[in-house]
Each structure stands twice: as structure tokens, then as C-alpha cells.
Symmetry: C3
Subunit: 320 residues, 3 copies
């Protein structure tokens, strides 16, 4: 794999999921692969799970890791061409990315959307320019519109826990929040689940209040609903996540009461497992009783971030 920025970079998602589960059984089996290889992790935004899990994944593979918190340790980067840089930006992405590529064999990059201008965010200008200028493989640690390491970990978790004989019903359920959050996690989850549905792995439904529909670029083939009662019926997995509006870009819109998943809501499901990418605001996004109960997979899911990252880094290392 030469880069990992979306499900489209993956040749065979089943194979990648199997690779992650194999690494979970034998974490240190490939330490020669990463010997003398350096992973640079570039964060333009804060990170807990992604940083720790990716760093650990690289160490498991024998790599060295250098972390760069650009928001604090670094510089404001210019992305536009043809401007005289006499303002606040101190370095152009052309130089900054190319230089990091000189010191690292693989780069991980995190850059959130600003949620102001939809076209600008969905362009992924920063991400794409960084990739084209750095000269080494890039692994997304979450971009403006996608978080593929999270989605791979989610699929690994479903694969690992599903013991039924039929295809599981997976529901992505919008959840309340007080802040305007990016669509990166739900976009990416939807994109991966649509691909998994196409490959006959599962059935996929998205449910959200009116106005919160995701871009159709990420939801091809998904069953789209606005009725949470209907959507959750017979669900095997509920993937809980807030996001701000795509249509009224970056806005927090009014929504019907009672969207939060509780034990009561689980009754209509097939004893559904509940997932969330974390961090989660308890009793706002998701009820404590569910998080602390037997249906929650959130910690196991977070743990699988490690094996997802390790499978991706292994696939990248194999092409170096």
C-alpha cells in the first residue's frame, strides 16, 4: 500500500482485516520489517488514541517514531501558491512536507477541517498537497473528511465479535452533542461499511435527523433513514456518533428529542453491540448505562485501533 487515506487505497478490505487480527495474535512477528525505518507523526490537531495506538503499532513493527505536534511545536504553514509570504505563515507546505520526507520513511498526518467553508474542507487541499510534496507514503491520522484508521478498527471489531450465521445489520446512528464536530468519522465509517456491504459482509443503515444527511459521496448503497425507531429494529451493531450538518455546513441544527441511545432503545434491536470512536460525552451522546453495560464495545474497539494501525503500517512497509 503506497498511501492510506481512504478505503479506496485498500485493495482488499477483508485481507486487511484478517491481517489486523493476525497481528493481534502475534504482535511482534514482524520486527525486522520496520528495523531502521522511521515513522513521523505530524499532528496539526490534538490526539490521544490515534497517537498512542499508531506509535505503539510502529514500535511493535520495530520502527522508530518521531512525533511532531505542529500546532504547538511548529509553524503556521502556507498552502497557496503565488502569494508573497509577508503575513502570518512562516513556511510553505512545499518545503515543510518535503523536509519531513527527508527524515522519515513513512509519515502520518492529522489535519482537521475548519468547518467554515465546505468546499475548502472537502477539497482536502492541505492533505493532498502534503502527500504530493513529501515524497514518502502517507497514512491518514484523520483528515478534514475521513478517519480511515478508525473505520478499519471498527470493521475489525465487527468481524471479531460477530458470531451470527447471517450478515449483521450495522446502523450508524447520529447522536446529540453541544459542539459542531467534523463529518470525518461518519463519512469514513459509511464509506467502509458501504464497501463491506458490497462485498456481502454486512447490511448497512444510516439514521440521522433531517438536515444531518452526509454527502452522498460516502453513502453509496447505504439504507438512509430519519426514523431512529425503525432504523434500530433488529440491529446487530449500533455505531453512535455525532456530526455537524453537511448541508448547512458545520451547523448544529435542532433535532427531535430522544435520539440518545439508552438501554430502553436497545430493546428493539437484536441485543445490539454499541460502538463509539471515543471520546464520548456521557449521557449527552450516549447513556452511561449503555457504556457501562454488556453491550458496549467501545474499549475493545479502541484497543483494535492498535491492530488496525499495525496492519496498515505493515502493508506500507512491505512496499518500501
Amino acid at each position: 500500500m503506497k498511501q492510506f487515506t481512504s478505503v479506496n487505497d485498500v485493495e482488499d478490505i477483508k485481507e486487511l482485516v484478517e491481517a489486523a487480527l493476525a497481528l493481534k495474535k502475534s504482535p511482534y512477528a514482524h520486527q525486522e520489517l520496520g528495523k531502521n525505518k522511521t515513522l513521523g507523526l505530524v499532528f496539526l490537531n490534538p490526539s490521544l488514541r490515534t497517537r498512542l495506538s499508531t506509535q505503539k503499532a510502529a514500535l511493535n513493527l520495530g520502527m522508530n517514531v518521531m512525533v511532531m505536534n505542529m500546532d504547538k511545536e511548529g509553524w503556521a504553514l502556507e498552502t497557496r501558491d503565488g502569494v508573497v509570504m509577508n503575513g502570518t505563515t512562516v513556511e510553505h507546505i512545499r518545503e515543510a512536507a518535503a523536509v519531513m520526507g527527508q527524515y522519515c520513511d513513512v509519515l502520518g498526518l492529522r489535519s482537521f477541517p475548519k468547518l467554515v467553508n465546505r468546499e475548502e474542507d472537502y477539497n482536502e487541499e492541505f492533505f493532498n498537497k502534503f502527500i504530493s510534496f513529501c515524497g514518502v507514503p502517507v497514512v491518514s491520522l484523520e483528515s478534514a473528511t475521513r478517519h480511515p484508521l478508525q473505520s478499519l478498527a471498527d470493521l475489525v471489531t465487527i468481524k471479531e465479535t460477530w458470531k451470527g450465521s447471517k450478515k449483521p445489520k450495522v446502523v450508524l446512528a447520529w447522536a446529540p452533542h453541544i459542539k459542531a464536530l467534523p463529518q470525518a468519522v461518519p463519512n469514513s465509517f459509511s464509506e467502509w461499511m458501504c464497501q463491506a456491504q458490497e462485498e456481502g459482509i454486512l447490511d448497512f443503515t444510516i439514521v440521522q435527523p433531517v438536515g444531518y444527511e452526509l454527502s452522498t459521496d460516502f453513502t453509496s448503497g447505504a439504507n438512509i433513514s430519519h426514523n431512529i425507531d425503525e432504523a434500530l429494529a433488529d440491529a446487530d451493531y449500533i455505531y453512535v456518533k455525532n456530526w455537524s450538518s453537511y448541508k448547512q455546513y458545520g451547523k448544529v441544527l435542532p433535532f427531535p428529542e430522544g435520539w440518545m441511545i439508552t438501554n430502553e432503545r436497545l430493546k428493539v434491536t437484536n441485543d445490539a453491540k454499541v460502538m463509539h470512536c471515543l471520546p464520548v460525552r456521557r449521557d449527552l451522546e450516549l447513556s452511561s448505562e449503555v457504556l457501562d453495560g454488556p453491550n458496549s464495545l467501545v474499549i475493545q474497539e479502541a484497543g483494535n485501533r492498535l491492530w488496525a494501525a499495525q496492519a496498515v503500517l505493515k502493508a506500507v512497509l512491505e512496499t518500501l
Copy 2:
């Protein structure tokens, strides 16, 4: 050792001190023990000595280390149960601690007191919840009320330098400061010295101005004094440290002039060695002439932080 948060977690302090001194002689003798084991260092407050010494200790043991500065890189954590998280906290300690436990084999944690509400600080709610939720051994990097890695290094330093035939007289002497500092270091030092006194290793005295008495939970068996002239007589070691009042919690109270240790003050001692955990404000807490003179152990003491941390991590690794 399954956790290291106070002297009570240590089965045999003499043995642990000997282990530290043995590691000082053979720092790299146990690198197989830490192979493929990861130490996560979680700082909710800044750190210099503790971070570097613990990181180096882990590297000496062959471990990987991941540092997490939560005050800057991370999140405001919620510790209360049953609250709707629609305020400033973005993640609950239940999830945050559990997730870190997924990526690390051992966790180190630093969390200072707020010095506002005594009961809240002395509850050690944050620390205890973190330990119970993370699922892996935890080493204290200083909590609201204790700093056991410092105290162990202090005991190692006394053991290493004492050449007399009788038991040394160790005096913990309060020192002036302009800020309200926690009681963690003196609480912990006192607790360790009381234990050492009980085991016949040394005699222990605490001297402080009226109003600065520590909680009796940490001083059982210590000789308590308010007269610095008397307390220092024939002392072999003076452990200099400021702390704010425990009784008038977190307050800086008036104190008699002349509390600072100077060469003049050393005259009544048995040529006492002078210790301080650092950082030290020169000529406010402790005179420059003492710090720069032959009686000061402060740099050697700081150096021993490494071997204390390595002995603790080794003991923890042996239980994994």
C-alpha cells in the same frame, strides 16, 4: 509489585533500595525484561526530573516509552459519575484510562492537587479512579498527596552516602517559599522515613513553623518539632522542603525569620548532608553557599531518581 503509589505498596523497602543500588552498578543487565513492553507516562502537570529519569529508567530496562502531556496535548477529563457531560470536560476518566491501558503495559501518572479543597485532594479521587479503570499497573509520578519515586530516591541517597556506625539522624526541615506548594513531597518523605525508622534504619525528625504541621496520617512515629535550632542539633541529614499549610489548607502562613538553612546553621549539625528534591529557589528556600558547598547532595539525589524508577519498574515488570 502491582502498583507503586505509596510506601504501603512496597513489601520490603530495604530490598527495593538494594535493588536500586544494584541497578546503578549494572544499568543494562535486565533489558530482556522490558522487551516489547510499553510504558505510558501521563502528565497532567509539568515535569523535568520525573519525566527524564523515568523515561531513561524504562529505556535501560529495554522498554518502549510513550509520553502523553495531557495538560497540553489532551483533554479535560470528567471524574464524576452521573453527570450529563455538556460542559467543558470532553472525556470521562472511565474511557480515557481504559483506553490508555489498551496501549500500554504499565502506566505512570502525575496529577497535582488543586490546593483548594483539602478533602478533595486527599481523597486522591483522580488517581484512584485512573488506577481502577486503566486495568494495568500504575506507577505514581506524583499524586495530590505523595511522590513515592522521590522518596525512594531519597532513601537510596541516604543509604548510599551514610558511612557512620550509628543510625543517622534525618531531619525534614520546612523552608520558606513565595508560592503555595503541595504537601506531596514532605508527606511522602515522612511516610518513607517513618517506615525506615520502624525498621531501625534511621531516626527521623520533622521541624516546621506552627501551622505547617503535616497530616498525622504520614508522620506516625516521627519526632515533631517547631524549634529549628533544637531539631538540627547533631543532624546527619537535612531534607529541605517547602510546603503550604495542611491545617489552613493550601495557605502560606507567616513564619519566624531565619528558617533558611545556611552554613551557619550547619554548625550545630554533625556536618549534615543537605538534600532537596529540586527545583530549588536559591537563597529563598536554601542558601547558595550550602547548595554549592561540600554538604549538598542535591545533584546526586536527583541522579538517584533514575535508579529508584528503574528498581520500581523492574519490580512491576517482574509481575507482568
Copy 3:
């Protein structure tokens, strides 16, 4: 090499350049040298290239690396003796440096000038005190007046790229900027080029507007010019860099129009290669057309920071 703070610490610059180029061919040939040795990187100011390249250099040599961002993670340090520390400084450099020396075998240090008081900056008080108190070899990661790792990488780049039969003409050309920048990079570059000129490696010219002359302590033997047209004639290398005035210390003075290097300006040169230490403000310091054209060496030059740092660390490790 017992320290690396200026060209004067280097016995033989040709040999050091050759060592860097040899390491570029065999990066991992000396991993036993750094085994169980720890490099501490202490930053009082932000760093991208220097941090990553030095960290990678140490890893290539088998060392462990601990990074300390003192501006954010640490403390305000006192450097003066004989002051009662009852103000904003929380630790004296005497203790802070000595303690870091306890945990690290080699220390790297970055500390920028304040550009307020020339004598204070050019004293290098902080740097010199740190070196004298820490007790281990120190590698400069840029001080108030010098950046020798950059200069060594620059000389390596010239040596690596020069294919002519005569000595190349190297021109250090002042460039416009909107901020007051230190003289550390040009001082250091000049000092190294003057030494290289003395050894018959190259011819060296400095060109700057009136008022921007560097301290003669760093320019001995250089051809000094104020006329950019004349200075660039037949140049083989142009080293572009802004700096603030040394004479009117730290000031940004008026300068003649047309100082920026463009393709048009390159016409009078011997198809000169263009260098810059980065970060560079495009179309303010240096034109985009040059940076993106075939004459630019800036990325290769940044890449060579790694081999320069590795050659220096190797030479230091050989003396431990």
C-alpha cells in the same frame, strides 16, 4: 569531539564533511556506538528540521533520544548568581543543567537570542553556563550567535554537489524579511566558509545592504560587498538568508529594492546553485521560481542536516 558549538570545536572540517558523506552511504554502520547511550534534546525555542534530523541521526547511531521542550514543558531558568529567587524563575541553571547531565550522555541545546541587548546575546551566557554545569558533552542546536549543525550541513551540500575543477565561488546574500531575525545562521555560515576558504576549499563573499554588516569576529578573510550585482557575478553558490542588523542591534533597516534572488538575477552567475537553511518565506526572501527551479538545493540541503548531525554525534560518542 568534546563539544560542538562552533567551527572552532572541529579539528578538521574536511574530515568531518567526509564522515557525514560516508554516513549518508552507510547510515546504520555504527549502531553499536550509541547502544545504551542517551541523547537529551533541550529546546528553549521551537524546532522542526533540527529536532527531527538530530533525533533521526541519534536513532541511526543506536542511541536513545529524550526531547525536552523547556519553553512549554519546563521552567523559566535563572542564570544569574547571587540573586534571591523570589521572582518568576523557578530553577537555577546550575541545578537544571546538572540534573539533565545525570540522565543523558550527550545533550543538545537550543537557545535563541532576545535581540534586545547585543552584549548579553553575544556573551552566550546561557549556553556557556549550561555547558559548564551539565557535565556532559553539549551539541549546539542553535545558540544566540551560531548554528553550527546548519553550517556543517551547508558545507556538506557544497562538497557533495560541486563538480567543477576550480574552487567554487560561494556568496552569502542577505535577503529581505518582515521580522527581525537572529544573526546566528549567517554568523555561523560565514565562520565555516572563512575556515573552508583558508583551507583552499572555496572562495567566500558576503553581500548585504549598508548597516547589515555582520560582526567581524565571524567574517575574517571574507570578501565583503554591498553591491549585489557585483557580488553575484560568476557565483557558483548563493546562500540566501535574512538577518537583522548587528550594528543597530536587532533592528530591521531600510534596504534598496531588488535584493530578492530571482531567475533574472541568476543570469550573471555561473548557473549558481541556490541554498537556504529554511524555513523560507516565498517571494519575500526568495522567489518561488528559484525555489521550484533546477538551481535550488534547499531540500537536499535540509536532508543533509541528518548526516551533519550524525557525523557530529558519532565524533562525540567516540570520546565517551
